[in-house]
């Protein structure tokens, strides 16, 4: 039986979709069977970040409404053959997501895949609560910035009350993924430090993803960061985060630019 992960944040634009794609691809590269599920009905973007936007035929809403079989809606990644995408609908309304429908789809996916990664929409409405409903593990994506931290706090409250795990009285496993982090600015006292955010949210740290051009570059290309340039700094941070998700105990390191400009140039060429 596979594990269900929700990638959530409350606030929009903090890197949920980027992180879903990057972690999904990282786990799949180890040979695990992974499906990334877009819950952002009406504003889907995971297909674009994964570079599969032109291959979408059926979507999550079609499957829920019985217009398509799950196997018809799943899109296999062209680069990693154990990685699949279940896209959201772009034209339908989020009200088309029913609790029973989502229950059925997730149960079926768990049977086939090792990891079911749900990309939550922003906000705390129906789409977000349905995305977290079945989660075994939650990845709370947070920027070192006041509004993002506040929204993450709110989402942590929902994870502890509005999920199946919470209803059964079990403890939801929650992890903090700090994204768009700039160690130099934090060091200067102009950005919340990792310790500050950890102290406030008090959930364990999954990883620190630095602010990086490589993230935009990957989305421009339509590839998860961990596939676009597996040797880039954010990719290495995501690979480590994925290993921690899989249960490995690794110390979290501050991501730093380890390669100079030439190393980077040649690294890319070689890759």
């Amino acid at each position: 039986m596979g594990k269900v992960i929700v990638v959530t944040s409350g606030k929009g634009g903090v890197g949920k979709t980027t992180s879903t794609a990057a972690l999904g691809a990282a786990l799949a590269q180890n040979g695990d069977k992974v499906v990334v599920v877009d819950f952002d009905v009406g504003l889907r973007n995971l297909d674009l970040v994964m570079g599969a936007e032109r291959r979408v035929v059926y979507d999550l809403v079609n499957v829920i409404q019985g217009d398509a079989k799950l196997t018809q809606a799943l899109i296999r990644d062209k680069r990693v053959d154990t990685l699949f995408l279940l896209p959201a609908s772009q034209t339908r309304d989020k009200d088309n997501l029913t609790t029973e429908g989502v229950d059925r789809v997730i149960t079926e996916l768990k049977r086939v895949f090792d990891w079911v990664i749900c990309d939550s929409p922003a906000g705390i409405e129906r789409g977000a609560t349905l995305a977290m409903r079945h989660a075994d593990i939650a990845v709370v994506v947070t920027n070192p910035e006041v509004s993002s931290v506040r929204d993450s706090d709110r989402i942590i409250g929902l994870l502890d009350s509005k999920t199946l795990k919470a209803e059964r009285g079990e403890r939801m496993e929650k992890h903090l993924l700090l994204t768009r982090y700039d160690p130099a600015r934090a060091q200067r006292g102009d950005m919340l430090k990792v310790e500050d955010v950890l102290e406030i949210l008090s959930i364990p740290l999954l990883g620190i993803i630095p602010e990086s051009m490589d993230v935009l570059r990957a989305s421009n290309l339509g590839a998860p960061v961990t596939l676009a340039d597996a040797r880039s700094v954010p990719a290495l941070a995501y690979f480590e985060a994925a290993r921690r998700l899989a249960g490995e105990v690794l110390p979290v390191t501050m991501p730093g630019e380890k390669r100079g400009i030439f190393g980077k140039f040649f690294g890319r060429k070689a890759a």
């Binding site: 506040r150 706090d153 409250g157 006292g189």
Partner: protein, 86 residues
């Protein structure tokens, strides 16, 4: 140098941390406000049956943590009422 100059040079992260801590302490307390309000009313009613006391002398606080929740009840009984009760 003016006082504004001093402010401008101040690091902003400590300010962010302080504001967040204050705000979240408040919001977390408010999150379970329904339950806390009901508990407060009922506790007040039970105690008021036996001793006369002021409505705002009953404080109910709920704290949420990783592994447990803590319910803190603080009732201040006036001196004369406690004599009566004894």
């Amino acid at each position: 140098m003016s006082i504004f100059g001093l402010f401008r040079k101040q690091r902003s992260a400590p300010m962010a941390l302080e504001r967040l801590q204050l705000l979240l302490a408040h919001e977390r307390a408010a999150a379970g406000s329904d339950l806390v309000a009901i508990l407060r009313e009922e506790i007040l009613a039970v105690i008021a049956k036996h001793v006369q006391l002021d409505g705002d002398k009953v404080h109910v606080k709920m704290q949420r943590d990783e592994n447990f929740s803590l319910l803190e009840i603080d009732v201040e009984i006036p001196f004369s009422a406690s004599l009566q009760a004894a």
